[in-house]
């Protein structure tokens, strides 16, 4: 591929990569900041909420 064509292609790829990277950063930020109710937090985000496919406590957390 001639030099100018190659540079244009790489530039296009870099711009596309940058857009994807911005999307990835936004998703990583959202993933790091969950906004969930207490029932969800106790069940899935607190270690031991579910053990071996059953709830860790005898009482199941209420689910709306």
């Amino acid at each position: 591929m001639p030099g100018a064509g190659r540079r244009r292609r790489l530039l296009g790829l870099a711009v596309f990569g940058l857009l994807c990277g911005l999307l990835d950063l936004a998703a990583a930020w959202r993933a790091e900041h969950p906004h969930v109710n207490d029932a969800y937090r106790r069940l899935y985000l607190v270690p031991g909420g579910i053990v071996n496919g059953t709830t860790g406590s005898a009482i199941r957390p209420g689910w709306p």
Partner: protein, 378 residues
Amino acid sequence: MTDYTLDRISPPLPGSRTRTAGCVVLLNLLLLVLLAVQAWPLGGLPHAVCHWDCAWYERIATHGYSPHPMTNPADFGQASWAFFPLYPLLVRAVMAATGLGADGAGLAINVALFPLLALLAAAYMRQKAGDADGLFRVALFVILPTGFWYRLPYTEGLYGVLLLSTAMAMARGWTMAAALLAAGLCLTRPTGLFCVAVIALFHMFAPQMAGPAGRTPPDRLTRWVEGTVLVLAGAAGLALFIFFLDGLVGDGLAFGHVQAAWGHRFLTPVVWLYKGFTHRKTLDLAIAAVLEIALICWGFRIRWAMESTILLVTFLLASSTSLMSIHRIVLANPFADMLVALLACRLPPRWRPWLVLLCLGLDVVFANSWLHGKRFLG
């Protein structure tokens, strides 16, 4: 990783493509007929093959993702968020386009995708291992007992096609096509992004497959840009699912957190393997895991480094949370099946007819077990 010298891809022998395609189509038809005959008394093929995860995919395809988890004692806490969206979206699209039910649409997708996967695998093996034994290799790829999973309404067929075509598109320098395929791969299964990262790293540091004849091999800077774009595009696919789950339940990583409801938790693979061997219920999975390790080692030995690394990463990811489905997750991967086919080609030629008969026999046994809801295949 070291740099390498590209061998140019030679054109296929005259008529070999037609023979390969004919062989793939005929063998697929034969296996489908065998499956359909066994499924006939159980309510027909589409209905009878839908077990385990298939029911989740159908529910997502017909009703969408539910924001609420299951509350029955048997499946408390389980939710559809664990299942990635591309396959159920495809089922939904086929349902809308053809008027088929979810059962029929799921089966139709995999019936169409498996021959495509086999043809891609044939081209891949020819490029990496030459033309010798080409027809036997592809025939074996189709009839291997591990190929059984590709015919089921599961994600294996779609995942295999996307994985293989991403690797092949990158080798040809079709970066934008590879990027789109990588995004699709990351929307199909949770291991997708890791496979994309392996493909990208090998592309950047030690490309494994030659490009088409007449094309100048890309320089290092180009390979670095292409590899980076591939990872970012793959991650963008996953990002879409994260945004969706964030809107649905408020947790973008819900697909991972909900795994606890299936009994998955982080332990080193060695511990899971030990537990597998000490419990009768998981003994078959532990044996499968050991065989998979042996296959991966053999892959490295014959210098299928990228393919073996993908299998190793997949194995480590799957076996770090449980041995559940380890046989399906690793062996229903086109690279694993290609390695098995290549291994079979090294056996004495007089064994081949017996090998074919063994594969067909095992396929019938697996189909029968699956249709009757035996859990060991799920």
